[in-house]
Amino acid sequence: MNTEIREELQEQKSTLGNIPKHYFVNNESIAADYLNGLEDNIWSKIQAESQPKAASVSLWERFSSRAQLAMAASIAFVGFGIFTIINTQDEFNLSQDDMLCYLQNEDEFVDNIQKDSKQYVNLDSLTNEEIKKYIAENEGLDVKSI
């Protein structure tokens, strides 16, 4: 036993300081083959640990390059379609200023509107007699009492 430890034990007047060194392993034995075969056992575990683990292949990598190309083209096509629809819808969402500008510049359209408006009769310019005559002829009413 280490003299330092023996002296420490003897200072305490311990029995341990007065008996030959004994390795106390709490009265237990272990399976002899466990420690005997430990080097092989551990080395096989280490080898298993050092084996490269199966690489995980992503879903994207599993597709062939042609399939990838087709997928990319499909996505582009769908994207273009959505883009077109959105832009088309925007044309109908004109502001009032845009519409006014359009009408002012469309001569043909304005002319037609003006022709239509000429068909309407200005009631203020009619006399009472003319109105009564119109009603009597078209509606069959007795207008003498009016």
């Binding site: 036993m1 280490n2 330092e4 430890i5 420490e8 034990l9 305490q12 007047k13 311990s14 029995t15 341990l16 008996i19 004994h22 390795y23 106390f24 392993v25 709490n26 009265n27 237990e28 034995s29 272990i30 399976a31 466990y34 420690l35 430990l38 080097e39 551990i42 080395w43 575990k45 280490i46 640990e49």
Partner: protein, 185 residues
Amino acid sequence: MKLKDDEILTLCKSPTTLELGLRHLISQYKDKLYWQIKRIVDHHDDVEEVMQSVWIKVWQNITGFKGESQLSTWLYRIAYNESISYLQGRKKQNLADWELMEPTLDDKSSDPLFNHEKYDYKEILARIDKAIETLPSKQKLIFHYRYNEEMPYAQIADVTGTSEGALKASFHHAVKKIEEFIKKN
């Protein structure tokens, strides 16, 4: 053939001799580490599990070992940390419980590797043996480091992260308790 620590380290540093180096390392320290771990996790099946993770850790880190401490201290520290992590991971008991845990001698009968026939020891050794078993777990481990392994307090402090003063006090109390147990019985 028994090699010195530095010779084992030289073997372990080279990939071509790593296996040979590790086999020597395991061969020389397996008993000591086994008993150290057993002082903490108690049951043989648990010791096996911890032993395995200890040696895997050693294999993973041996090339980076710079020799700042003794090889044995480094190994004991890995074994100590792995044992404590094992206890915490299993949530069998937290660390504070383990340090103060009083032993239950009857529990040993559940261990299939407990050898009852070894009670043929000389009377005094048997009594001391029983007395050691009555120590709380951490005190028992410190007694094991100091008496069985004859480790200096500085080395035990390095392994366990406990101050030298606390270790001296713990060993002193352990020896006192053993003496009292022998006198009582």
